[in-house]
Symmetry: C2
Subunit: 159 residues, 2 copies
DNA sequence: GTACCAGTGAGCACATTGCCCAGTCGGAGC
DNA sequence: GCTCCGACTGGGCAATGTGCTCACTGGTAC
């Protein structure tokens, strides 16, 4: 589970320049190609690296508005609500949480007006008691993993 | 900005099997290799596809706990808080929002106990007035874009 | 009709991949 | 101390994919 320093450098390098191949990585890191290949295989079968899917920008697709909705669910309706939300394309992500709400989901929409349509579709389902929505204005820190990977690699080193 | 049906199929195919190359894609889609190559170049320079970074699973790195924190910021301290949060590796994402809170951030931690340390570090900063945290229990819908891409492609078709 | 754009199918040199091997090194176990 | 084992190295191989170019076609706008 824990990654060592070399694993960390591989992931960071890959995150910064995804297009580079195994050979180029081995050159930059100063290790043999087979080593990088073996590490990568291990990281993937470990599940540390889930995949290399394309990162798509919803804004560029015509969905510039992002929002987070906190949902309160009627007791026992959780599974139905999950299934319902999974059918809405504008729901990019869904979590069940502790705290005030029962679920938190990330939404996108074509405009603020369109967001109303999306929310109606999301909450237009029996098991949802209440929803409160926060519209995203800015995204100062986009989803990132590099600092965490570096942290994890250093923790390992100290051990 | 808008993507057509072929663009949609390219992205979906790529999302499902990231390792396949341009040549294999052209075979599956029944179009010429040059076409796929040109489309991909356009999608990337458009910004629709931001990149192909590795998807790292924080849980596999030793951070199995995810939480969302809603922060209230003292007037005028926004920039400082942003800068502060950017230095915390466990902050994976940060948004400024409308609504009850002023910011929403995604955190990870090594354990529920460790989450306390992370939160202390996050809110241990002058500009933050209040924080309320929701711990993620389940993730029924992991971050996804395929349904949205298909939606966008169909909308385009209808036009 | 002409110009233009997107797609096609083909060809080319080149680099990279996936795979195999023999050899070295360091640590763990006996 | 000795041996075994796993990880890393450096090399070599055939096969494949890449980046690039070309001439040609079909549809569309002017």
């Amino acid at each position: 589970m824990a990654i060592d320093h070399l694993d960390g450098r591989i992931i960071v390098l890959l995150a910064r320049e995804p297009r580079i191949g195994v050979l180029e990585m081995s050159r930059r890191l100063g290790v043999a190609r087979g080593t990088v290949q073996a590490r990568l295989d291990r990281l993937q079968s470990n599940g540390v690296i889930r995949g290399f899917g394309p990162e798509v920008d919803p804004a560029a697709l015509g969905y510039p508005v992002t929002a987070f909705a906190t949902l309160q669910i009627r007791q026992g309706q959780g599974a139905d609500v999950r299934a319902h939300l999974a059918t809405v394309p504008e729901v990019l992500e869904l979590h069940t949480t502790t705290g005030t709400g029962d679920m938190l989901c990330r939404l996108v929409a074509r405009s603020n007006a369109d967001l109303q349509r999306v929310i109606d579709r999301v909450v237009g389902f029996d098991g949802i008691v209440r929803a409160s929505t926060a519209i995203v204005m800015e995204n100062p820190v986009p989803l990132r993993i590099i600092p965490l990977v570096e942290q994890a690699a250093e923790d390992r080193d100290r051990t």
